[in-house]
């Protein structure tokens, strides 16, 4: 890593801003949700994921969602891009007058659940050692490891089902504090990491 640049522009190139906005709009246009969007990012070709950069990933995920949502045909973006490359660009028509339509607002991810939290602050818990087949927000590096509940966070929709249109299954979320030596062994730097984990990811630990 290098020291951060203080003057880095939000969008270094104009297409990056447009790709960002179009991708967020594509989530809804394709009938997806935030979790399904993250799952789309995870399913990109791994070499592309690393080589195409953040905004390239978003663009590719937008295409994947729009094709899977049957808004666009496979290859349609590529075909149009070739047309644009091979034909002289004509000036776009003047935009219609008037106020821009509002940015669409979503329902968000937080929910209220009736059940009391299964775990309490200070309790020792273990991240389950599981390997969900699809999308999950249980990071691999904590699976099977024990930590202490530091904060009970507001309940939220469960990404593992929501990303696959299997329902929201809202549940409590816990910030769990793991010691570095628990995760990385005795030779690790001394520090702690908190990970925000859904209730279904956790079990009690002696």
């Amino acid at each position: 890593m290098h020291p951060p640049r203080a003057d880095e522009p939000v969008f270094a190139e104009p297409w990056q801003g447009r790709a960002t906005a179009l991708t967020i709009l594509a989530v809804r246009l394709s009938g997806r949700n935030l979790d399904a969007f993250r799952h789309a990012l995870e399913r990109l070709d791994p070499a592309d994921y690393l080589q195409q950069g953040y905004f390239g990933r978003w663009l590719n995920a937008a295409e994947l969602m729009l094709v899977e949502g049957a808004v666009l045909a496979p290859g349609e973006i590529e075909a149009r891009a070739r047309d644009l490359r091979d034909t002289p660009v004509t000036a776009p028509p003047n935009p219609p007058r008037g106020r821009a339509p509002a940015w669409p607002a979503g329902p968000g991810s937080l929910r209220t659940v009736d059940a009391a939290p299964a775990f309490t602050v200070g309790q020792r818990v273990r991240a389950k050692n599981i390997s969900p087949a699809g999308h999950t927000r249980l990071p691999g590096y904590v699976r099977g490891h024990a930590g202490i509940v530091e904060v009970v966070q507001p309940a939220a929709v469960f990404p593992d089902t929501h990303a696959h249109f299997l329902g929201e299954h809202p549940q409590h979320v816990y910030s769990v504090r793991f010691a570095s030596h628990e995760l990385w062994g005795q030779d690790a730097e001394r520090f702690a990491v908190t990970v925000d984990l859904f209730e279904d990811y956790l079990e009690t630990s002696p």
């Binding site: 951060p4 640049r5 190139e13 447009r18 349609e76 973006i77 590529e78 925000d196």
Partner: protein, 198 residues
């Protein structure tokens, strides 16, 4: 593993233009909405929002207490909220305790107070290494912490968003809230730098 068969040799700018044209032709996207989004995140929604929150906390003990108890509500008091800021938790850095924020699974970041994430925050190396060797990563980024400082890394794996309340540096006691705002940089509110006195 999924590939969509597209020729990745086509420049992203061209593919973006193609996408916008296709969605606009179908009446699904209004380019003015795209323009407004870009203008918003280039000018309105950025780390200056977070800096106003921190400067208020440094100068108003009651606000500071509210911010640390219910970050989302205290931040809303200053008019900031919205996407990627549904539930913001503020953690305080002190000479003994240092918090630093990462998202190992993607690049989750508190947009309403910091804007869109900078390139280093999205770097796969930052995402992978910050939870494994934070002291080394911070040193590479220019922040050397003493061995006695306890580091807590905050991995943003749910919809909780973390904001660091950095230490107010010595020598700024005479500055007003408004004078403090420009000192508070994005990097200090993620926890990869400390605020420096002018």
């Amino acid at each position: 593993m999924t590939t969509d068969g597209a020729d990745r040799g086509t420049p992203a700018a061209l593919r973006t233009a193609a996408l916008e044209q296709l969605l606009t032709e179908r009446g699904l996207v209004d380019p003015r909405v795209v323009d407004a989004f870009i203008a918003d995140y280039e000018t309105n929604v950025g780390p200056r929002n977070g800096a106003k929150v921190i400067a208020r906390a440094w100068t108003d003990p009651d606000y500071r207490a509210r911010l640390l108890t219910d970050g989302t509500a205290a931040i809303n008091e200053l008019g900031f909220g919205g996407p990627q800021g549904e539930h913001i938790v503020v953690v305080e850095n002190t000479p003994a305790i240092h918090n630093v924020v990462v998202c190992t699974l993607c690049s989750c970041y508190p947009w309403p107070v910091l804007g869109l994430p900078p390139s280093w925050y999205k770097d796969p190396a930052y995402r992978a290494r910050m939870v494994k060797e934070p002291r080394a990563v911070l040193a590479e980024m220019g922040l050397e912490l003493g061995d006695d400082v306890q580091i807590t890394v905050r991995d943003s794996t749910s919809e909780v968003r973390w904001l660091v309340l950095p230490e107010r540096p010595a020598g700024t006691e005479h500055l007003t809230e408004q004078e403090l705002v420009p000192l508070i940089t994005r990097d200090t509110m993620v926890g990869v730098a400390k605020v420096e006195a002018p």
